[in-house]
Amino acid sequence: MSTIEEAPVSLHDAPSKRMNMIEAINDALDVMLTRDADVVVFGEDIGFFGGVFRATAGLQKKHGSRRVFDTPINECGIIGVAVGMGAYGLRPVPEIQFADYIYPGMDQLISEAARLRYRSAGEFIAPLTVRSPFGGGIFGGQTHSQSPEALFTHVAGLKTVIPATPYDAKGLLISAIEDNDPVIFFEPKRIYNGPFTGYYDKPVEPWARHDDSAVPEGYYNIPLGKARTVRHGEALTILAYGTMVHVVSAVCAEKGVDAEIIDLRTLVPLDIEAVEKSVQKTGKCMIVHEATRTSGFGAELSAQVQERCFYHLEAPIERVTGFDTPYPHSLEWAYFPGPVRIGEALDRILKA
């Protein structure tokens, strides 16, 4: 597959360190703050304290409070000033503390950041990267668990990136910061500390024991718009991103399903070629995301697979998603598209 193993050859010799997602993100920010004097990092509680998830720990001390600082609790203002800083020539990397809090900044993202280049015919751009933890599984209730990625993929002019491993998190975040278009960088908070497999009643393995936690030191990037084939297989193609990459991998391992699992990594731009090639090979496609079902990104994927691979399909496309409800607190595992829901869908599609 052309879309995998894209790590630059030179990296094979670079020293690497075991990192969890948070450490990898922190390292990417540190690398970019060091490399580019125009990079600034700001958001609620991210300065002295280092962020509620510690993603910016130590950065203010190292790079100074003019480049790494706390902000008022005002997401409209956080995104709005980021747009103005971008117009000046800075490369802002604002943090929205939880994706659930991003909505007050939506107008600044949709009507402003996403359209500056277009409406000014390239005179002004918004090279900002909005980092935000998203997704559930941490007993966050309805306001600390949502997966709103489809709201952003629907907007012309925004890129949406979701890493699933520490290695990817660092390389993709560096690419996002270097990108001259606005990027929404959603971090699956359930896997900050370890690759959660969906078995909430079993202990989570720490990242240290996972291959993809070997993160090269210093600078490297992973291009946006290139999917990663997590596992080659023949029985079906599974499209996933973020936390769900690890959940489907575990379910397939447990059930002994020879699935080809594709981690999309970026939803816009989408690596549709990788998807198309895989589905044409396996003839079956299952899409898994944690977000609500109706008009979720799975609907877009399903439509594109149908348009491009209809005559290769041997079974109806399966969509495994969260339910169309707010994220419930006490029943969060009933909402989460875990091993049972995925297993049932696998049985259906494999029997077809």
């Binding site: 600034v40 003019r66 480049r67 902000t71 008022p72 005002n74 409209c76 203002g77 995104i79 709005g80 000033v81 980021a82 747009v83 103005g84 800083m85 971008g86 117009a87 000046y88 020539g89 800075l90 802002p92 007050p104 107008d107 600044q108 009507s111 402003e112 500056l116 280049r117 277009y118 409406r119 000014s120 015919a121 390239g122 005179e123 002004f124 751009i125 012309a156 002019g157 890129k159 990108d179 001259n180 278009d181 718009g225 731009p269 989408l270 549709i272």
Partner: protein
């Protein structure tokens, strides 16, 4: 299903009643402005530019005025501009009005879809443009064409944009008058309201982060000062002491909603500064010298690292909101006629005449010359087409600049758009 007790079931408590603001005058009503409380020119103190913000707060409830009834400049806010600068400012305001008149007619003649005049408000954009440095970054709303004109942006380019023709630098993508010119330090106008305010703060913060000397200025209408963005901007500017000048153009009307719907029944718009602890000034927005002086004060203050200033320009929207609006349906025509602060161009003209530096004849001659200049620019722009007559940018440009690089799915869609064109007009060549 409600478990709230019905209003009559609460003993002797009076029933609550909702206040819905209503303007004083509706069509046909006789207008009486005696209760506006316009103070005499020259009576307002001018605090030091580096004073504590609180020292300016009495001025938020007052009104800085320089040009008096006898057309003389009086008091500590007189910016003492030389006659040549005054004449240039007068000429720029008159050119803005001549431009507006011609573009309004052009819309009525079907040359474009939309236009917005700034008649009666020229001082609130032209005078600040004179007071700011040319490389200070401005984040305008949609009625500050006077800034672009003051900064020497070519009229023909403005008209190309209004016509969305093939020479339009914005490639025909934006609604008319939503200009952008990086070279003139004029930020791309959104069309969504108030979004420019926090952006101006971000630009100013960036300038401070970089140790630059340039400041930012932004404009908003009193109506859209009700938006959350306004308050986000003031909070950030106050917190980070951003070098930014906030202008609220209080022209009394937001389409058909009078200023009471943005809070004017309770206090002034300048008084918003008090709650944020930043400097605030309320100025006679039809007095170009007062506007100049207030902007200069705020700009000097920002440049001295003393932070943001909020300036309310008290003025009147003499015409409709846009070509799509007819104010005869909701306000008294007498409001404009009786407006106690007069017309900004006439007031500056009479000041120059009173100084012996200008004459009625010279003014009439200037107006003729400016009308000719606008006409010539219009003819020049029309060579590149008017809206809806085929002379637009190439089809493919519709798909460019969504992203820095054209992604595959947009290339596919571009091919489809061009194919559709060929199906409809087989002979079509671009």
């Amino acid at each position: 299903m409600t478990d709230i007790a019905p209003a009559h079931g609460r003993g002797n408590l009076p029933p609550l009643s909702l206040h819905v603001p209503e303007p004083k005058y509706r069509p046909g009503d006789k207008v009486d402005y005696t209760d506006l409380g316009i103070p005499p020119a020259g009576a307002q103190p001018r605090p030091d530019e580096q004073c504590a913000a609180a020292e300016t707060h009495p001025l938020c409830l007052d009104m800085v005025r320089v040009l008096g009834e006898d057309h003389r400049a009086v008091g500590p806010w007189d910016p003492r501009l030389d006659p040549e600068t005054l004449r240039r400012m007068l000429r720029t305001m008159a050119l803005t009005r001549a431009f507006d008149d011609r573009m309004f007619r052009g819309q009525r003649q079907g040359k474009t879809s939309f236009y917005m005049k700034c008649t009666g408000e020229e001082a609130t954009s032209v005078a600040p443009a004179f007071a700011l440095a040319d490389d200070d970054m401005v984040f305008p709303s949609y009625r500050q064409q006077g800034i672009l004109i003051a900064r020497g942006y070519p009229l023909t380019e403005m008209i190309n944009q209004i016509y969305s023709n093939r020479a339009d630098k914005l490639k025909g993508r934006q609604l008319p008058i939503m200009y952008s010119s990086r070279a003139h330090h004029f930020f791309t106008i959104s069309g969504n309201l108030a979004t420019q305010y926090p952006q101006a703060v971000g630009w100013a913060m960036a300038s401070a982060i970089k140790g630059d000397t340039r400041i930012a200025a932004s404009w908003i209408g009193e109506g859209s000062s009700a938006e959350g963005d306004f308050h986000a901007a003031l909070t950030f500017a106050a917190v980070f002491n951003a070098p930014v000048v906030f202008n609220v153009v209080n022209n009394q009307w937001a389409i058909s909603s009078f200023s009471g719907f943005a809070g004017a029944e309770r206090t002034t718009f300048a008084a918003r500064a008090i709650g944020y602890g930043i400097a605030g000034l309320r100025v006679d927005g039809n007095d170009a010298l007062a506007v100049y002086a207030a902007t200069q004060w705020a700009a000097n203050r920002a440049r001295a690292n003393m932070g943001p200033t909020l300036i309310e320009h008290f003025t009147y929207r003499a015409e409709g909101h846009s070509t799509s609006d007819d104010p005869a349906g909701y306000r008294s025509a007498q409001e404009r006629e009786e407006w106690p602060l007069g017309d900004p161009i006439m007031r500056l003209k009479r000041h120059l005449v009173a100084l012996g530096e200008w004459t009625d004849e010279a003014h009439a001659e200037m107006d003729r010359e400016l009308a000719e200049m606008v006409k010539a620019a219009t003819k020049e722009a029309e060579k590149n087409g008017v809206l809806g007559h085929g002379l637009h940018h190439p089809f493919h440009t519709m798909f460019e600049d969504v992203f820095e690089e054209l992604p595959a799915h947009l290339e596919e869609q571009a091919e489809q758009a061009i194919r559709e064109r060929r199906i409809k007009w087989p002979e079509w060549e671009e």
